[in-house]
């Protein structure tokens, strides 16, 4: 099926090593998200798995079989690109049929699969249109349809939602998640958006400069970030990181506390500060608190209708059991 193993895989562009030796196993049926800031090597890693780039060293195995030297077409993987990469001169039907035509599949089988995919993706009425006549979300579905019909060992998604507007993105996110539940096929998904990672993944791989910083389930990463980078990257709004004297009190170089783990009060608490910007979202309120003497800004998340405003003096109390401690290298202290 779709178990993918990377064994000491490296990639160099000229003299620049973008991926230092990297080991990773993706289990069959798993939804794995590669997440990290731009330039962290996540797309390169995906392209190595796809076979669109050669590895500089190490080995890739798909279902236990060596795939390192196989061309992309022979790896049995399907990919959905950021730009959708639909063939503009072909109708939706022909786009979806293309991989099957290349594989020399019988016409009636092609037709059956196209019809199934179109029904599943709500594309039945659009089969004879060109990609240029479709909306962004529909194009996205065509790209997914083209991937589904091949019944691949695994799906690769390269930032597939980054060209959609915010509302559509939420919808497509759910569609892809549902698709995964239904097909139960391995999916590897690359994104720089930690919200997508948190909401969709079975397993998140956090990457920085080609290195794996941490691998784990979304909640593991949220609860026990291995270092300050993962701590700052996972969770929104970002975790507050405080160093200096306050950290020393907890015998750490840096302490971290998430905005939702700080209690706020107008009268008493551990830290004192003044509210700068207050963002009222209705359900929640984010306060950016200054002049605490701890960090430039401490962000806190409070309930929707707290009667505090810009310029008010407030007192903050971190929840002791939700405090993260990090050492001089930024690594978590257990």
């Amino acid at each position: 099926m779709g178990r993918i193993t990377l064994d000491k895989v490296t990639k160099k562009f000229g003299d620049v090593e973008v991926i230092p030796p990297l080991d990773l196993t993706i289990e069959d049926g798993e939804f794995v998200v590669f997440v990290g800031p731009s330039g962290c090597g996540k797309s390169t890693l995906l392209r190595l798995i796809a076979g669109l780039e050669d590895v500089s060293g190490g080995e890739i195995r798909i279902d236990g079989k060596p795939a390192t030297d196989l061309p992309p077409a022979k790896r049995g993987l399907a990919m959905v690109f950021q730009s959708y990469a639909l063939y503009p001169h072909m109708s939706v039907r022909k786009n979806i049929a293309f991989p099957m035509k290349m594989a020399g599949m019988p016409e009636d089988e092609q037709k059956r699969r196209i019809d199934n995919a179109a029904r599943a993706l709500n594309l039945t009425d659009y089969l004879d249109r060109r990609p240029g006549q479709l909306s962004g979300g529909q194009r996205q579905r065509v790209a997914i349809g083209r991937a589904i019909v091949r019944e691949p060992a695994a799906f690769l998604f390269d930032e597939p939602l980054s060209n959609l507007d915010a509302a559509l993105r939420v919808g497509m996110r759910m569609e892809i998640s549902e698709l995964h539940k239904k097909l139960d096929t391995t999916m590897i998904y690359v994104t720089h958006d930690q919200v997508e990672a948190m909401t969709m993944a079975d397993k998140i791989v956090v990457l920085r400069a080609g290195n794996i910083e941490q691998v784990g389930s979304p909640l593991e990463l949220y609860r026990n970030p291995r270092n300050t980078f993962v701590a700052g990257f996972i969770g929104s709004p970002k975790m507050n990181l405080i160093d200096g004297a306050e950290a020393k009190k907890h015998s750490a170089e840096t302490i971290g506390v998430r905005p939702e783990h700080i209690d706020v009060s107008p009268s008493e608490g551990t830290w004192k500060g003044r509210i700068g910007v207050a963002e009222h979202l209705g359900s929640d309120t984010f306060f950016h608190v200054h002049d605490t003497g701890l960090a430039e800004t401490i962000t806190i998340r409070a309930g929707g209708e707290v009667g505090l405003h810009h310029g008010d003096t407030v007192f903050l109390t971190p929840q002791a059991d939700k405090l993260h401690r990090f050492d001089g290298q930024g690594l978590r202290i257990a």
């Binding site: 076979g51 669109l52 780039e53 050669d54 061309p71």
Partner: protein
Amino acid sequence: MATQHSRSAARIMISPAVVLLLAWMIVPLALTIYFSLLRYNLLMPGTERFVGLLNYKLFFNNPAFFTALINTLLLVGGVLIITVVGGILLAILLDQPIWGQGIVRILVIAPFFVMPTVSALVWKNMFMNPVSGLFAEFSKAVGLAPFDFLSQAPLASIIGIVSWQWLPFATLILLTAIQSLDSEQMEAAEMDGASALSRFWYITLPHLSRAITVVILIQTIFLLSVFAEILVTTNGGPGNASTNLTYLVYARSLLNFDVGGGSAGGVVAIILANIVAIFLMRMIGKNLDA
């Protein structure tokens, strides 16, 4: 950004083009250089022998060479000035709101598609002919003596004909460039109180600089090799008054059958063109990155 496989495929697919062009460049070039060192006349076959740089010496000592060199420079320079200045003015005019802009554009661009032999013949006979050309008719109508363009001012006449052919090219490219100028930039300058003239000077002209350079350099390649216009109108004459380097080499080798001397001239022409080419390549190379 590709795999070993696609890289080797790429190498195979590019090779026919590279091999052919390499052959096209090296073989004739080597032969030209070789011939230029020989005494080689087609009328006296079998008398070829090595003479070193004698052909070059004869070529440089021939007064026709300097005339041709100066004519080449005048021709290139004259046409460039006329087409660039005229092209800028025309492009600005055509960029204004006018009725029938598309049709005017078509009228202006037309001469570029006229083959050189046709334009040379039409100008020579129907316009510049001192007896029955249109210009002569016009002179007569206003009471002046007709002017024999091609014998009195042969080079200037050829510059005129060639400019007519290339003005459309310059206009079209400069017009395209002007139309790509961001109108908000113009409006901002207007808000800042810049007059029409200073808007032209400080915004339009700098914006056009790249297009102007491209026009100059590309026209130069073609203008260095102007041939048909001279062959058809003046045959380089009277005397050498309208002979450029290209025509001189042609006359030497194919009219006088002096292959050695002609080849030496060819080598000189190549060196001259290379001096121009170096600037051109730099320019286009920069645009590749942009």
